[in-house]
């Protein structure tokens, strides 16, 4: 009965589902690993028990999130072959080595030092333990670098030749492949997004506990650190997003035109379409609200610069405009909301009300998940915007998939949905439960044993009972 379903659509749905789920965890763990490194560094430098407590508080959360990132990432590394075998056979000689380098330089580094980071503080001493934390944080960043390089090459492929078997192979040096035209912009935008996402989560947790007890020193410190991060990084992110937009206009104009909802060419300068209902069938945006010339001002930094329209491109090469038109707006709106929160926190700081302005704290709690939503919306924009291609302009999605029957893919898709919601749903619940507990003066080490969770074994390196934080 499933035979009439299109196996390609099912495979795309499965990939979109699994990659979206996966992306949530690294978006958080990249930022959190760096935050833990900063906290442990501050603790070693100042000797303050406050930072030690915060380190332990967030380490427990990190352990849960990281585990989910590992197993959901493992799925991704096999799904290229299970569901996209033609793509793998053709692009393997280029993207395979980049992913192999990701495993060699990042995954092993993270995994090798994670055990020591989580369980080893009483075994290796402070300095070596800090080193392990740094290696895990470094590993997350190296991992992001390689995988974004792979994705960017699929978006802006260069430096390749096509061999007799129809495979993409390196034409010469690997440098142009790794540092392909969209890579630096995409990497910057993604890593900053991870930092911003983490700072919003940390800020929300701090704010939540400030609403209950504005004197909690741990909550005060984490809220303050997170708001500094948001205030500094949100404007940088908006700037980075703008540069990536310009880069995309240069290399993937159809994607940008779809994001903007520009079906018709604008020889005298494009408007900025704020809202509307794009329709590929009608080739126009219905009920649109637009501001004249601002589109060209943003994309060309000149209000009357001409811009093409989607109608300049063959109809069958249009991406699905309604999806990315909206995902892009969701991302941008959340980006500006983050900027607003950052500015509000600066104002509160200037008026010395950072820790007792409940509306600010409520806003920060509400913005807690905003980073995840923005990251997924941005991901949808760039990935759906690449359609109908897997390798932009060269290999179509409809020609990339495995020779699999629809029932096989439909069954696996259902299995993924059930297992992911059960496993990661439970994980999210545990994360929220950990976050709901206020940071205390005597945070236990990451509990791998219930007996230890009671906090009876302060590690020698930590120095016996920690001073109640100021």
């Amino acid at each position: 009965m499933l035979d009439h379903l299109d196996p390609v659509i099912l495979a795309r749905a499965q990939f979109a589902f699994t990659v979206s789920f996966h992306f949530i965890f690294p978006a958080f763990s990249i930022g959190l690993a760096s935050y833990l490194m900063v906290l442990e560094g501050l603790w070693l430098k100042t000797g303050s028990g406050l930072y030690a407590n915060l380190y332990r508080y967030w380490l427990k959360i990190f352990a849960v999130a990281f585990g989910m990132g590992v197993v959901s990432g493992l799925v991704m590394s096999y799904q290229f072959g299970t569901n996209w075998s033609v793509f793998s056979a053709k692009a393997g000689p280029i993207i395979g080595p980049l992913m192999a380098y990701e495993v060699l330089t990042a995954f092993f580094l993270e995994a090798g030092f994670l055990g020591v980071m989580l369980f080893g503080i009483s075994k290796v001493g402070k300095g070596l333990h800090f080193f392990a934390t740094c290696m895990v944080a470094l590993g997350t960043l190296i991992s992001a670098t390689w995988i974004i390089s792979v994705n960017s090459w699929m978006q802006t492929p260069v430096g390749y030749a096509i061999n007799a078997k129809g495979q993409f192979v390196p034409a010469g040096s690997w440098l142009p492949i790794i540092f392909n035209p969209s890579f630096p912009y995409r990497l910057t935008h993604t890593v900053i997004a991870a930092y911003l996402t983490t700072s919003l989560v940390v800020g929300a947790v701090g704010a939540w506990h400030l609403l209950k007890d504005r004197t909690n020193p741990g909550a005060r410190t984490m809220f303050s650190m997170a708001m500094w991060m948001a205030a500094i990084v949100a404007p940088i992110q908006i700037f980075a997003g703008d540069t990536q937009g310009l880069n995309t206009l240069e290399h993937q104009p159809a994607k940008v035109l779809a994001m903007e909802g520009d079906y018709d060419p604008s020889p005298n300068g494009a408007p900025l379409v704020l809202f509307g209902l794009p329709s590929n069938a009608e080739g126009r945006v219905r009920y649109k609200v637009e501001v004249p010339h601002v589109g060209s001002l943003i994309l060309k930094h000149d209000p009357s610069a001409p811009l093409p329209g989607l109608k300049d491109f063959p109809r069958d090469k249009w991406p699905p405009v309604p999806i990315i038109f909206w995902s892009f707006r969701i991302m941008v709106a959340l980006g500006f909301a983050m900027l607003g929160l950052g500015l509000w926190s600066l104002a509160a700081r200037a008026r010395k009300r950072l820790y007792d302005w409940p509306w600010l704290h409520r806003a920060a709690v509400a913005m807690g998940p905003a980073g995840f939503v923005a990251v997924i919306a941005g991901w949808v924009t760039t990935e759906v915007g690449r359609q109908p291609y897997t390798i932009y302009g060269l290999l179509e999605t409809a020609q990339s998939h495995s020779p699999l029957a629809a029932p096989a893919v439909a069954a696996s898709l259902v299995a993924f949905v059930l297992v992911y919601f059960a496993a990661f749903g439970a994980g999210t619940y545990y994360l929220l439960r950990l976050m709901a507990k206020p940071p205390e003066a005597h945070e236990a080490e990451p509990a791998n044993m219930p007996q230890r969770a009671a906090g009876i074994t302060p590690a020698p390196g930590v120095g016996a009972p920690l001073p109640a934080a100021e």
Partner: protein
Amino acid sequence: MGGIDLTIVWAVIIAFAVFAYVVMDGFDLGIGILFPSFAVGDERDQAMNSIAPVWDGNETWLVMGGGGLLAAFPIAYAIILPATYPLMIAMLLGLVFRGVAFEFRWRDPRHRPLWDVAFTLGSVVAALSQGITLGAILQGIHVAGDAYAGGWLDWLSPFSLLTGVALVIGYALLGATWLVWKTEGQAQQHARRLSLGLGIATFAAMAAVSGATPFLAYDYWRRWFAMPGVLLTAQVPLLVMIAAVLFFWSLRRGGEKLPFLIALALFLLGFVGLAISMYPYVVPRAVTIWDAAAPPQSQLFMLVGAVVIVPVILIYTAWAYWVFRGKVGTQGYH
């Protein structure tokens, strides 16, 4: 690279990664398989704690095997994975369940029995899928024009089910002997009893798989039994028999590390047997490693990294194991 065949070098590296995966994740999957037989409380906690700091690194070898295959032999990757589709999906979902169970069972004491079941089921499903995949590859995959050309249940056969069960038993043996090394007291005695039974079962399973393989295809028969090759290939079963004697002797004598090390040696012998059956094919009787190979530029680029980085990985992995050396105890490592 005059004189050195990069394709052979990469075949060796990937074989190494797969072997590293099989023995390292093998013992922690084995503990998952045996988990229901451990007493709730101390015994389970000891078993879990003995692998908590290392399982993630162990599993990274699986990513290395898959990623390396994609990079060095993309066509093999693109044939084998669709051919074993339901197995791959089942393995991944099994690994998801058991991976999250490591953290979740500590986070949620009320539902710990549930996560313990997830840990076991995930481990059994992952091990079984890997074993069946091995059988599916050995019995042959229908290939046409460098792509998989069969249906989505071709992998299912009595032989592949046999290899599936055999691998589950083998992993359980690795897990049990690991616990003989890492635990003490009651838990160790239990692990020792398990090792005895699983040792017998593993030797029986190896014999069954080895006995059935030559009947799958004449090519296997010729490789193992034709003169003069048989003089060499006969050494493998001979060494397995010696290993069997040593294994039961060391178990009886109360050896702590030796049973685990001999179990590793057994897996190595099994691996050598596989190499004799398969080389130089990556998909038996259809695709050789040279047919499937990525171009030399790709293989060379990765080799530079692998030569430098793999030794570093081995060093810090060894260090991580060293940090958590000794008996695990009930309070985590001490």
